[in-house]
Amino acid sequence: MTNGWVDMKNTDMMLIMGGNPAENHPCGFKWAIEAKRTRSAKMISVDPRFTRTSAVADLFCQIRAGTDIAFLGGVIKYAIENNRIAKDYLIHFTNAAFVVEGDFKLPADTDGVFSGFDAERHSYNRASWNYSGGKPAQTASTAAGQSAAPPPLPPLPEKVDYDLTLENPNCVFQLLKKHYSRYTPEMVERITGIPKEEFQKAAELYTSIRKDGDMKKAGTIIYAVGWTQHSFGTQIIRTAAMLQLLLGNVGRAGGGVNALRGHSNIQGATDMAGLFDSLPGYLKVPTPADSSFDAWMKRTTPTTSKPAPWNSWNYYSNTPKFTVSFLKTMYGDAATKQNGWAYDYLPKVDRDYSWTHLWDNMYNGLIKGMFAFGMNGVAIGPDSKKNIDALKKAEFLVVGEIYPDETSEFWRSPGISQDEMKQIKTTVYRLPCAGFAEKDGSFTNSARWLLWKNAAVPTPGECRLDQAIVAQIFLKVRELYKKDGKFPDPILKLTWGYTDPKSPSLAEVLKELNGKALADLEDPATKAQIKAGQQLPGFAWLKDDGTTACGNWIYSGSFTEAGNQTARRDPSDPSNMGVHPGWGWSWPANRRVLYNRASCDVDGKPWDATRRQIWWNEGTEKWVGNDVPDFKADSHPKDHMGPFIMNAEGVGRIFAPLGAFADGPFPEYYEPFESPIQNPLHPERTNNPVVTGLKSADDKYGTVKDYPVVCTTFRLTEHYHYWTKNNPMNVQLVPEPFIEMGAEMANEMGIRGGEKVKVSSARGEYIAKAMVTKRIKAMMIDGKKTYQIGIPFHWGYRGIAEDEGKTERMMVNLLTPTIVDPNAHTPEFKGFLVKVEKA
C-alpha cells in the first residue's frame, strides 16, 4: 500500500476492485467502515460477484472477470472529459507535461500493439517508449531479469522536453487522452458487461471528489489478488495508479493505491526477496550479462531525467550504498572493494525462475527436488495436475507443514492407481513445523508496518521452528562443502554469526537486516556519530565503501540502538490521522504514507487544511508534519523537486518509459488468455501480445466453443487457504466446497441449489454442490449473453470433510491455466473458461 489500513478512515471515496476486503481482510476493513461512519465516505464495489464487500458498498457494478483495464480506462476518459482532474498536481507532480519521442505509436495506430512489437519473439523493442529530450544520460533505468535480452535500451534523456500547457500533441497528457478516448461507455459496456448507465454512475461517483478540480477531497483505490491474477495484472494496477495521479490522490491521506496482501506476511515475503528477480529491498538481481559489480551497478542505478529547471532527488541513485551494505551482511570480511564486494558469490539469474516455470522445469526433469515450506504447491496450482505430474518425476520432496497436505500426499492424489503409485519414486520427507502461534518474529502487514509478535506456545512434540530446520540443512551443506564442492566460497564465507547457529533467533536476524556500522561513522552535516558495531538508525547512514552492513535497506531503522522498534506498542495518535508513530514500525523510515510531499501544493501547503500530513515550515525552512516527510527535508518548494523521489524523473509516471514494463507504457485492454470474445478494441489482437502459454503436454488452453462460461476463483472469510479444512470450527462454519452460479443460469440448466455440478476446463474438472444465487447475473458481453461462475478454493483431497468422504476430493486449481503476467509472473487464476454440467 502507498497508504495504510488505518489511513483508510481519512478517505472520502473508495473504489474497491479486484478485491473483497470484507471477505478476506475483515479486520482491516474496519477502517473502510470507519470512513463511512465518521465521514459519510462512499464505497464503490466492482466485482464479478456481489460480495460481502458489495453488501456494504453504496454502488455495485458486476464486471466480467479480467476486464478491469477497460473499466478504469473508461473512468480516465470520463475524468478528463468532465474536468475532474487535479490540474496543478498533474502538471507539477507527474510526467503529464513530458514530451514523448516522435516515433512512439499507440495501439490505435499500430494494429493493437505499441510501437516496437516483434511478433516472432512476442516481445517489444522498447526503444521508442522514451521521452524526447536533450543530451542523453549515461545509463538507462531498466527493469532487471529480462533474459534473452533484446538490444540494450537507449537511456532516458537527461533533460526532458516538456510543455506545461499540456497542449503538445505528443506530450504524455495528450497521448493519454488520445489512448483512452476509445474507452467510451459503449465500449466499456461491450467489454465489461456493465450497462453504460451503471458504468457512468460509477465513474461520476468516483471522480466526484475532484469536481471542478477542487483538491480538498481524497479517494482511495483498494485492490487485492483479483487484480494481480491476470495475464495483464500489473497493467491493471498501473491503470489504477494513473487514475490516482490524474485525480491527484497519491500521497494524500485517504488516497493512494492500496494493495491488500493475500496473507499476513506476504508483504514481508516480497520485501525479503520472495521473488526470483529481486534481492532484499527490491534491489535488482544480477544477470550473467553483468560482467562485474560495477557493470551491475551501472545497469541498475538510474540517473536523473527531468525538465531542466526542475529537481529530482532520484533516491535510487543510492543503489550502490544499499547493495554494498547488503553484500557486507552476506559475506562480511570476505566482501572487499578488491573483489567487487564478493559480487561473484551472488547467483546470477539467467532465466525465468518464477512459479509456473519452476514447475515446468521439474516437469521437464530439470529440477530434481523441492523444499516446500509454508505453502501447498499442488493445491496452489495453477493446473494442479501438472504440479502433481511434475512431483512424480522429482527425486525428492521436503515438506515443512503443520498438517499432512495435498503436496506431501501428491502420490496418492485421486486418480492415481495402486500400480501407478508403486511407480512413483519420489522420496518425500515430511517435517513437522511450527504454527504461527508457536513462532516469534515480525509480520509485515499490507500497510508496510512491521509488528513483532511473541511465541504464544512452545512447539508441540517433535515440531521444529522453520529457521531451525533451514539452519541445520545449511550447516550440513556447509560441512559437505568443506570437504568438496565446485565453488565453495559463497557457502563457506557466508556470515552465520548467530548465538545459536542451529536455530538463529529471529530478533538477531532482524538486527542483521537493520544493519550496523562496521567502522566509526560521522554525519558531516549534523556531526552525529555512530561507533563501530552499533546498530544503524536508518538507511540514510548506508555507505558504499564497506563501512556499513545492512541486510535489507528498507528495513533499516527497525532494530536500532534503541531496541526492536517493531515491538513498540504505543497506540497514541497525536494528529488523530491514524499515523500512530509509536505503534510497530513501518518501512521506509517509519513513514506511514508514501510520497506524502504530494499532499501539499507546489508551495508546500496542504491541499486540505483539515488533513495535514506534512508541510513546508517557512520559519525553519524544513519539511515537517504529522508523518515522516517522504522527501528531502530541506528542499525548498521553489526548487521544484518532484515528490516521487524513487523515480529518476522525480514525478509520477502516467507514461512508464522504456523497460519499466514488458507490455506497454500505457495499459491497453487485452482479453484474458481464455476469453469468450475477440477483443472489441482490435479483434485481430485479442490477448496480451507478449503473453504465451507453456508448452508441456499438461499445458492446455481452451476456447469459447468448448468452454463458454467465464470462471473465477475466490476465498471465504470462514476459511484460511488450504489450512482450516483441518479445523472443526471452520468446517462447521462452511462444511463443504461449492460453486456459485447465477439463478438464471441455474434455471436454464435445471440445476437447483445443493445439487452437484461438474465444472470442466481444458485442464481438468471440479465437482461440487451448486450455490444458486441472485448475486451473479447473466451478462451481455459484446452482444452475447455470457454466464460467469465463481468457485471458492479452500478444499482438496486432505481435510476433515475430505477424509470422511463427505466431499469430492478435488482442487479448484485443477481448472486454472498456466498463463502468467509478463511483469510479475502471477498466474491467471481469474477469468478463465469452463463449461458447466450437471454432475
Binding site: A22, E23, P26, C27, F29, K30, I33, E34, K36, R37, S40, F50, R52, T53, S54, A55, V56, D58, F60, T717, E718, P728, M729, Q732, L733, V734, P735, E736, F738, G753, G754, K769, A770, M771, V772, T773, K774, R775
Partner: protein, 297 residues
Amino acid sequence: MSQATLRVQKMSGHAGSVPGDDAQREFTVCKLIDTTTCIGCKACEVACMEWNDLPFGETVFDNTYQTMPETRWNYWNLILFNEHEKEDGSLMWLMRKNQCMHCAEPGCLAACPADGAIVQYTNGIVDFQQANCIGCGYCITGCPFDIPKMNPKTNRVFKCTLCADRVSEGLEPACIKSCPTGCLHFGSKEDMKDLAEKRAKQLRDDYNFPQAGVYDPAGVGGTGVVYVLHDATRPELYGGLPSNPSIPWSVKLWKGPLKWLGNVAMVGGLIGLFVHYLRFGPKSREDEDIHPRGENP
C-alpha cells in the same frame, strides 16, 4: 458494573414477591447491531461458541453462506443471510446477527411455569436457569423471535445469555468484543438508542436509505438488542424479523384469564404424576448433563 446488576427483577412461575424487585436499578444494558455495516464475517458466532464452551456440531451445505438454518440449543448466535432484490433491480445482501433479543417483557418468561427457570436481571438480561427448567418447552412457544431451543437429550432449553457472566464483571459480551467492523456496540439502552438513531439519520441523510431506522419493538416492551436497519419499515426482509412482535395470545390467555384452568390441569397433572410414580418408581438422572458441552446434538 458489579454483581448487583445480576439481581433478579422478574422471575418465571414465581408466586409472591421477586427478590431484587426493589433493588436499586443500574442502567439497562443493550446491544446495538448495525446491519448496515455488518459484513457477515461470523466472528461473533465463533466468539460465542468459544466463550460459552459450546461444542462443534455438524452442518450441511444449504445453498447459503448462513452457517445453519436457525439457532440451536448449542449455537446461540447466528448471522442470517438474505438476498433481496429491490424494486429498481439492484440487490441487497442483508446480514443480520440473530440471537435472543432480551425483551423488556419476555414472552419466554411469561410462558414459563417453572419457578425461577427464567429470570430477568435488573440490568435487563433475560437468562435461563437450566437447574430450574422442567423441559416443558413453553418458553419456545412464548418467544416471538423463535430463539430458545431445547436439547432433546436433556430436555433443557438454552439461548444467548447476553454473556451475563462477562457483563456482571464489567466486560462486554463476547460477540461485541470480536466484531471487526464495529457494527456491534454495547452499553446502556439509552446510549445505544441514541447511537442507533444517529446512525439511522446518517443513513437517511447521507446515504440512499430514506426508510432507515431503529428496531426496538414496543410489542415486547422494547428489546435489549436493537437493530439499525436500512429499511425499518420491512424488518421481515432480514430473515423474518417480526414487524410487531408480541407475546403469543395463547400465552397471554394462559397466564392471564385462563390461569385457573392451568391450576385445574396442574392438580390433574400432580395426580397423574403420583399414579405414575406408584407404577414406575423414581426417574434416574445419572445420564443428565445440563451443560451444553456435554454432547453433540
